[in-house]
């Protein structure tokens, strides 16, 4: 069979491979391969021939290389053997090296896991990249007055009906704290959400039973998560069972879904039907959150545009009505009303606005932690380079010998690289073991559940191998080049490295290490002192011995008797019922001065309570009077705080009137008193203008605050619990102390503080390991100098100072680098607090001193040993 057309040819890649691998002279080998290829083509046809030929070529390579690389293989074996010998011979340094690098690597692996974990929130939804939440932001007079996750009731249905780009939109929000009953089981629940049925089109909740199409269609339907179903029904089939809510409504279980994964920005145990939005609903009210699923081809910009249209079409008329001003004029006078899309996957780390479901993570912390993880890894690598270059001078003779025996420079470099690769391999193995053993501790400390399982996280493997290779290369590169350049003749003649250049680089690296350590210590110091400051801040009320009893709504009917009974107990001093307590959210609404115009609008935080709030909390009354039974139930009286008085600039506040916006402008609230500012929130927020009002006859709050006598608190609590059981029966008696609740506000800062403390210790530790090795070497190189100095009459202290002087210089330079950097970065961090500690000079000086002391201690053993040594030993051979 002959072919008239051009002979088929293997691809250029094959040709290239043949040329490269088989060292082809005169292209005879390529010819052979092409002949084989042609034969294949004749026998099997083109396509099959290609496949077969590739197989043939690949099979050819190992056979060839096996024979060819025999010599390379022996050399490689020799390198490995040499490297192992070297590691063994310098056991101490090898250990310092491997251990230090391993700790650095372990840290960065943990940081990597932590960052991955934080970055993977909300990714469990199938359409996560197309889901958005609507954020509502009002700007009044150029200042943001409202910035919240809550949105108007009609927004979801409007978006869905009017814009084809939107596949689904749903209202989704949390819902009070109902008491659920099923037969003898009674629980006060906290994680109850309400939603439109279309929420199942947006989020991917896994249904165990029930139909996502109809789960929330019936007004009496409720969807349970797996664990809440187990809590109420045990092994029974929950579908169709009826749960009673607050003794008012019966809810039928329509579906059970899997528990919400940990990595979600919301968690609920129950999902209840949400009644259809009222078409007349006021767009100024913000009762629920709105989530939107976009169609595949729509972008976030499209959604932003649609939301803008919605504002001007629907919200504008309501603003015009309430503020009595045409929309154009309203926007022209520095006001803005915006609906903004928030990408679902960015919520956890980037969103921190009003009305978040849970307190979210913080992207700055993530950057911070990644930075420090990187720094630790770099410090560890620097250690390795430092020690290796220091040791290099001791290897000159070996290298010289190798060169005389015919080693090429490339072989020398390869030999050193093999060693650093091997060290990197050991370090990584050690690091992985460290991570495995330390992760439980880390999880415990930070309330995370990170796992390292290489079989599950296959994606990690290439990363780990790549970084292993990379670290081996980076750490080995400099020493290998340094050794490659060694001049054989000089070495064998007995030349000793003066090493001016090398020690210059070494010093730079050491300084960098110290700078990083100082920086981390300063950061830790400031984070910790800010936490301390926040906890000891003057709060405006007395937080000690204040106890909060939760879920008082469970005994709503008998709450007054319960309070009276508590007051009869000997350990109880005061009791008050209030709508909120420190650390819990506070509701806000707009008020203006009575008779004032729009300029006097002010968003007031509001607390409702019974007559005893000020007494129980020991809040200072500055002017006027407290609520009192003598004046009856004053529903139209309020007490303001100092900030509110100041913002409104009221000269003589008592007796003035204010009016709440929204219920018409005719309601008058008389100011009867002014209290000193007090903090119910964390130090992140400044004190907001606030009013205190009285509960109506039937109003009550969820919390009962009790001021107890510090003596015999446990006994008092037991007695209170007995009282509680009289009214609440089986329900658990839940209480907490206000001071611990306040501490909980700083959980994320404490987490950061702990993380920093750990990192600071590690950073200093690794740096010290490096210093220890380095000091040993630099002193061993100076033994003769020290010997001569001693003979000429130098004293031991004098010599020690001489040897440590260098250390002082390094630390000083490092401090000069670290101080301004730490100052700038920590200033940025502190600006997140409305009330912040000041950065004192002592923090900065102290951190440098700490590093210096640790460095001196580390180096002094070697130094003193060298200084006290008998000069005869070092000079014997001269």
């Amino acid at each position: 069979m002959t072919q008239k057309t051009k002979e088929p040819q293997p691809s250029w890649l094959c040709k290239w491979l043949v040329k490269r691998i088989f060292r082809d002279e005169g292209e005879a080998k390529l010819g052979d391969f092409m002949e084989i290829y042609s034969t294949f083509t004749e026998e099997k046809g083109r396509f099959q021939a290609k496949v077969q030929f590739w197989g043939y070529l690949i099979r050819s390579i190992p056979d060839y290389l096996k024979d060819k690389s025999y010599i390379g293989g022996t050399m490689f074996k020799n390198y490995i053997k040499n490297a192992l010998r070297n590691i063994k011979r310098h056991r101490g340094y090898s250990f310092i090296n491997i251990f230090g690098t391993a700790v650095g690597i372990a840290c960065s692996i943990i940081v990597l896991l932590y960052v991955f974990d934080e970055l993977s929130y909300d990714k469990y939804h199938k359409n996560a990249d197309r889901i958005y939440r609507v954020r509502v932001r009002y700007t009044l007079d150029g200042e943001i007055s409202t910035d919240t996750t809550y949105s108007p009731e009609l927004l979801a249905s409007t978006l869905q009906n009017e814009f084809p780009e939107i596949e689904a939109a749903a209202r989704f929000t949390n819902y009070g704290f109902p008491v659920f009953r099923y037969r003898d089981k009674v629980f006060s629940e906290e994680k109850v959400f309400r939603a439109d049925n279309s929420i199942f089109d947006i989020f991917s909740f896994e249904f165990i039973s029930g139909d996502p199409e109809k789960a929330l269609i019936d007004p009496h339907s409720i969807v349970l998560t797996q664990s809440s179903a187990k809590k109420y029904f045990g092994k029974e089939n929950p579908i169709g069972k009826v749960i009673n809510a607050d003794k008012r409504r019966d809810l039928t279980v329509t579906a059970v879904i899997k528990d919400i994964p940990r990595k979600s920005h919301f968690h609920f145990d129950f999902l209840i039907f949400l009644p259809k939005a009222d078409p007349q609903a006021n767009w100024l009210n913000l009762p629920n959150r709105t989530y939107v699923l976009l169609k595949k081809n729509a972008t976030m910009q499209d959604l932003a545009g649609k939301l803008e249209l919605t504002v001007s079409k629907y919200l504008a008329p309501f603003i015009e009505k309430s503020d009595n001003m045409p929309w154009d004029q309203w926007t022209a006078s520095g006001n803005k009303a915006e609906y903004l899309p928030q990408a679902l996957t960015r919520i956890h780390l980037h969103s921190n606005i009003g009305g978040e479901f849970e307190s979210n993570g913080n992207i700055t912390s993530i950057y911070f932690i990644s930075l420090i993880g990187m720094a630790l890894l770099i410090i560890a690598c620097i250690n390795y380079i430092n020690l290796e270059t220091a040791r290099a001078s001791k290897r000159f003779r070996e290298i010289g010998m190798r060169k005389t025996l015919g080693a090429k420079p490339s072989q020398i470099a390869f030999c050193v690289l093999t060693e650093s690769m091997l060290m990197s391999f050991f370090s990584f193995t050690f690091a992985l073991v460290l991570v495995k053993t330390l992760l439980p501790v880390f999880n415990n400390l930070f309330g995370k559940s990170l796992v390292l399982s290489l079989s599950d996280q296959v994606a990690l493997l290439p990363v780990i191998f790549a970084s292993m290779f990379f670290i081996g290369l980076v750490t080995g590169l400099y020493p290998s080049i340094a050794l490659m350049k060694v001049k054989t003749s000089r070495v064998l003649k007995g030349f000793k490295s003066s090493g001016k250049n090398r020690s210059y680089l070494r010093n730079v690296l050491v300084v960098f290490q110290f700078a990083a350590s100082i920086f981390i210590i300063i950061a830790t110091w400031i984070v910790l002192s800010q936490i301390k400051y926040s906890l000891n801040m003057k709060l405006g009320f007395n937080k000690d011995q204040l106890m909060v009893i939760h879920k008082v709504d469970d005994i709503a009917q008998s709450r007054k008797t319960f309070k009276q009974n508590l007051l009869t107990l000997p350990g109880v001093l005061e009791v008050t019922n209030s709508s909120t307590v420190p650390g819990k959210g506070i509701s806000k609404s707009y008020h203006r001065l009575y008779g004032g115009d729009i300029n006097s609008n002010l968003l007031l935080s509001q607390i409702y309570a019974d007559y005893d709030l000020l007494n129980t909390y020991q809040i200072n009354l500055l002017e006027g009077r407290d609520f009192s039974k003598d004046f009856g139930r004053e529903m139209d009286a309020v007490i303001l705080n100092q900030t509110a008085v100041k913002v409104w600039s009221l000269d003589d506040p008592v007796g003035k009137h204010i009016t709440p916006i929204g219920s018409g402008l005719d309601r008058k609230l008389k100011v009867i008193g002014v209290v000193e500012d007090f903090h119910f929130n964390s130090a992140h927020e400044s004190v907001q203008p606030l009013k205190i009002g009285l509960f109506s006859e039937n109003g009550y709050g969820r919390y009962l605050t009790v001021r107890v006598n510090p003596q015999n608190i446990q006994n008092t609590i037991k007695k209170m619990e007995k009282q509680w059981q009289v009214f609440a029966g089986k329900q658990a008696f839940e209480y907490s102390f206000v001071d611990t609740q306040f501490e909980a506000l700083y959980n994320s800062e404490k987490e950061l503080g702990r993380l920093f403390s750990v990192f600071a210790i590690l950073a200093v530790f690794i740096a010290c390991l490096g210093l220890l090795g380095l000091a040993t070497f630099s002193i061993s190189q100076r033994t003769k100098e020290i010997g001569i100095r001693k003979i000429l009459g130098a004293s031991v202290p004098g010599l020690s100072v001489l040897l440590l002087k260098e250390l002082l210089r390094w630390v000083l330079i490092a401090a000069c680098i670290a101080w301004p950097l730490a100052y700038l970065i920590m200033k940025k961090w502190l600006s997140g607090f409305a009330y912040r500690t000041s950065m004192t000079m002592w923090t900065f000086l102290g951190s440098a001193v700490v590093v210096l002391i640790i460095a001196v201690i580390t180096a002094s053993y070697q130094t003193i040993k060298a200084a006290t040594a008998n000069p005869v030993d070092s000079l014997r051979y001269e």
Partner: protein, 113 residues
Amino acid sequence: MSMLSRTDEMILLAVWRLEDNAYGVTIAEMLTQTSEKKWVLGAVYVPLERLEKKGYLSSCLGKSTKKRGGRSKRLYKLTKDGLDILIKTKTQEQSIWADISISSLEKGYDTKN
């Protein structure tokens, strides 16, 4: 004079058999036919080059064909030394095996155990 390895021996014999047409592809084919192993090109180049270096083979660039995309063949020939070593190997082998037949080998295995 050193002894030949089994592979070298087979390759020298293949070159001898192929006479004027001994180059990569044909040698690999011949080896595949005479042994039970599949020989690929990669496996014959190294021993060929080694044998050439030792002086048992000589090579020159020969004709090319269309099938080879215009690349010439590297044709191998047995040298005098190569012929000598083959003869030597053959006589040595015969003397080693001279008084042993397969049946006597098997018998020896039985009695030893």
